[in-house]
Amino acid sequence: MTLLRILGCDPQYDPRQTCCGQPAFNAGYHTDARLVAEHFVEVFKDAEEIVSLSGSCATMVKVFYPQMELTGALSETVGGITSKTFEITDYIVNQLGVTDLGLTYTGRVAYHDSCHIMRELRIVDEPRKLLRSVKGIELIELDLADRCCGFGGLFATKFPDISVAMGEEKLESIQRAKVDLVVGCDNSCLMHLQGLADKRGVNLKTKHIIEFLGDLIK
């Protein structure tokens, strides 16, 4: 919020909001997903622009809402919702045209590409641009940068062993990069990686990019 205000926006928070419906959608429960999606559309239909801190939720709205059969008038509203929803780094870089926030940080940081952001929304450079603009930062590319961390929503609990195996590969890639801070645009992936690192006693901190940048402002 602070960051958006500094950038000249007037962000509003509608407390009625809950969820975009993705968990049910990905689990195959379309009716449940549709009802929750309709709640989302109802809450957000009058917003000028919608900015999401989760690339995955933004994907749900932008990519999958158009494929859902919303009922009644909402089916017409959805097109508008889709085009005015943005993932936050995409919004800052491409809508606000800001790439340099004038911040400073000393240390090695790796950026984690979350799959939905990278492959569904094709947002790859935007977060990197914001990070690179931070003075003193050493932005490291992981050797397995384009590999999924294994979270995958309910997949992580339905197939915990595969999910953990995938996470271990990612964690090893992070360790090879010798970074102790990983920044990403989706808290869910970061929570998975952080949980895995904590359990294994690996010294790693994960932060959402906005949390990271926001902390530098203070």
Partner: protein, 464 residues
Amino acid sequence: MNLRASQFKANARIAAQDTGLRSKVKKATGTALTKRKQTVDELPEWESLRQQGHDIRKEVVDNIDRYLRSFTDAARLNGAIVHHANEHNDATKIIYDIIRRVSANSVVKSKSMITEELHLNRMLEENGIRVIETDLGEYIIQLAGETPSHITAPALHKSKEDIARLFQEKLNISYTDDPAVLTAVVRKRLRDEFLNTRVGISGVNFACADTGTITIIENEANARLCTVLPEVHIAVMSIEKIIPSFDDLSLFLKLLSCSASGQRMTSYVSMINGPRSSHNPDGPRQLHVVILDGGRRQLAKHPAWKEALYCIRCGACLNVCPVYQSVGGHVYGSVYPGPIGSVLTPTLFDMKEAQDLPFASSLCGACTDICPVKIDLHHHLLWERREVVDRGYKSFTEKIAMAVWRWMMLSAGRVEFAGRLGWLIQKVFGKNIPAPGWTPRRRFPALARRSFRSIMKREKNNDG
């Protein structure tokens, strides 16, 4: 079809913890991916080639009956004997009858996924016919009494040390893990088989509808030998192997060899137009082409599922899939593992049996990005999940859980309440309370005392 897909969950659990298997699969897929990337990077037109490939495959699948007729006519004109098999059993029976008619009691065989789908080897062996696999990978698998774990590299789950031990035990040779020596051993043993066996069986990579040409690509020349040395060559294919024209072949050879092995062209490309004749004195006396439907015509009519029939079996989606890399191919319990296997097995064979496969993906989309014919693989998995739920295959508990979740998500107040409750539980019982499916190997994050929602509300009230 013999499926064991219902055991996916249990088998994947074991495989995911087998770090030895994981490192072998990782190494082999990693090498294939690196080579592929090098070659594709040299082709600036790659994306447009993929689109062309997609469009042509769509054209064929949408008009499968017409192309099948035209291929059959052209192949017959070339002198091939064409057989159509509706069911898997029909195909194996046709093949068995051809072998019996020439009184052969053994066959040499090159690598073919469709014969795996038919479980042909087992059937022939049960009927007293010896099957000699001649592709090195298949030879290894046959010797080990296993099934392929990958569609282009059947023995991908074996290290060279595994193979050395296998050869030592089964072929009575002294231990060596030198690939050149091991290959030479196989080559020597196979030479006599090629010369003395009267029936050769192969798969087909592409069948041209206009000229009736069947094309087989490979790197070991064993398929070439299987198709020219024996008196009778039986080529086995499924209906969707057809491409419209001979002119399309160069495109598909490029897409397939780049994606499968990072080669612009494989070492051997056999284009077979017919049996031996007065103006073509080489090759077998008889050429049989056995074409299997096996549920595909039905699948081709489905507006979404039909896309899986565009597949040219390059195996790239397996290589790039982090799930496949973690568990290997056997656990899928289907002839076709990996992303394409998870997409195809439920729709082509048995959705109830294979209901876990569409869920066994983090939906990362790496498969879709690599597929040379642009099959929307990971979105197919999503649509199939919906089908599994709509057919009522899910447990009662899961349905109730989903209904509760929905009930909560329809009201911000209930979400807020659940958040506080979660925080309270953590506060009372400590941060390490177990969450099934999560905590055994990952730590659960600490829940915030105050939600973003309540912070925002308070901020607003203060402003106001």
